[in-house]
Symmetry: C3
Subunit: 139 residues, 3 copies
C-alpha cells in the first residue's frame, strides 16, 4: 500500500465552475496506483468542490444561477458583510456543496461516470488563487 | 493493510430514496476488514447519496417533498431543458447532497448510528440502473 | 501504513455550530501519522459536519440564520412531526450539509486552510450528546 500527496492551484476570475478533472487524472496516473482511493480537499470557506456534468455548458450556467437565487449576494439576513456582499453567501454555498470529495480508483482509472467532471466552485467575484490538496492511497 | 473494490447496481423506478445499507454491510463483511474506512461513490450527476433515518418512512417522504419544492421540476430559471423538466433539477439536487460518503469500520462493523441508513437518492422520474462503487481499506 | 480510530463526544445545548477542530487536531497529532488522510464521521441524522470560517463568530450566526429560514421549524410541508417541530427540518439540514468529511494530513498537520475550522452542526433545540468517529490512515 502506498500514498501520494499534491497541492494544485486554480486561478479564478469570477463566480463559476472551474473544471479540474484533467489535473486530478494526471496526478492519479503519475502515482501509478492501480486500485485505491483519491481524495480532493478544498482549503477554503468561500469556494468548494462539486462533481457535475461536463458535457453541456448550460448545466454549469444553470447550477450557478440556482445557487445565486437561493443565496443572493447582499441578502439583508446577513450580519457578516464587511468582506463584501458576496462573502457570506459564499460561506453558505460552501456549506451546501462539498469541501472534500472521494473517488475510487479502479484498474488505474478514476471511477468517474461517463458524464462526471470534477469542478472547483468559486463563490467570490474577485479573482482568487485556490488551493486544492489531492491525496491518493492504494496499491 | 488491505483493500477491496466492488460495483453495485441499484434499479430505480421514480424519484425517491432507495436504501442500500444491506448491500454495503454485506460488502464490508465479505472484505473481512476489522477496522478501516468504507467509501461509497455514485457514478452519476442526476442521482446522489445520503445518510438518513431509516425508521419512519415519512422521513423519506418529507425529504423528497422538501427537495421537490426547493428545486421544482420545470423551473423557468433553467436553460438546460432538452433532457427533460426533471434533468437540471436533478443536477442541482445532486450538488446539494453527496456524490461520495465515507464511513469508518470499527470492530468489523460500519460505524452507522442507531437510526442511520445509506440511501441512493434518485432525482429522475424515468427508470434507471445506477452504479455505485464501494471501496474499503483497513486491516 | 498505519491507522487509528477514536470516538469523540460533543455536548450540545441548542441549534448551532460547535467547533471540534482542536479535538480532531489532538487525535491527528497523537496518531503520529506524518502524511495521510483524516476522516470525521457523524453518527446522527439530525446533526451534521461542516468546515467553515472560525474567525468571525457572525459567520456562524449567519449560517444558522440561513438554514433556519431555508428549512423552517414547523414547516406544514412535513408529515413526520411526532418527534417535534425541529426534527424533520433537522433531517433536511443534515442532508444539505455533510455526514462525513475527509482532510489530508501533510507533514504532520491537517491541511486546513488559514480560516477553516471543523464544526458539528447541531440541528435540534434540545440538549444532545453527539458521537463523532475519527479515522486516520497513513504513514
Amino acid at each position: 500500500m502506498r500514498q501520494e500527496l499534491k497541492e494544485i492551484l486554480v486561478t479564478t476570475a469570477d463566480q463559476g465552475l472551474y473544471e479540474i478533472t484533467e489535473s486530478v487524472r494526471a496526478f492519479t496516473k503519475s502515482s501509478s496506483i492501480t486500485n485505491g482511493l483519491l481524495t480532493a480537499y478544498c482549503r477554503h470557506t468561500s469556494a468548494s468542490l462539486v462533481i457535475q456534468e461536463n458535457a453541456d455548458p448550460d448545466v454549469q450556467r444553470d447550477l450557478l444561477a440556482f445557487f445565486r437565487r437561493l443565496v443572493p449576494d447582499g441578502d439583508p439576513l446577513f450580519v457578516h458583510t464587511m468582506e463584501g456582499a458576496d462573502d457570506m453567501p459564499a460561506h453558505v454555498k460552501t456549506a451546501l456543496t462539498q469541501t472534500s470529495l472521494a473517488i475510487p480508483i479502479v484498474d488505474g482509472r478514476l471511477a468517474l461516470g461517463t458524464w462526471q467532471g470534477i469542478f472547483l466552485f468559486e463563490h467570490r467575484k474577485q479573482p482568487h488563487i485556490r488551493k486544492i490538496v489531492l491525496h491518493v492511497i492504494g496499491a
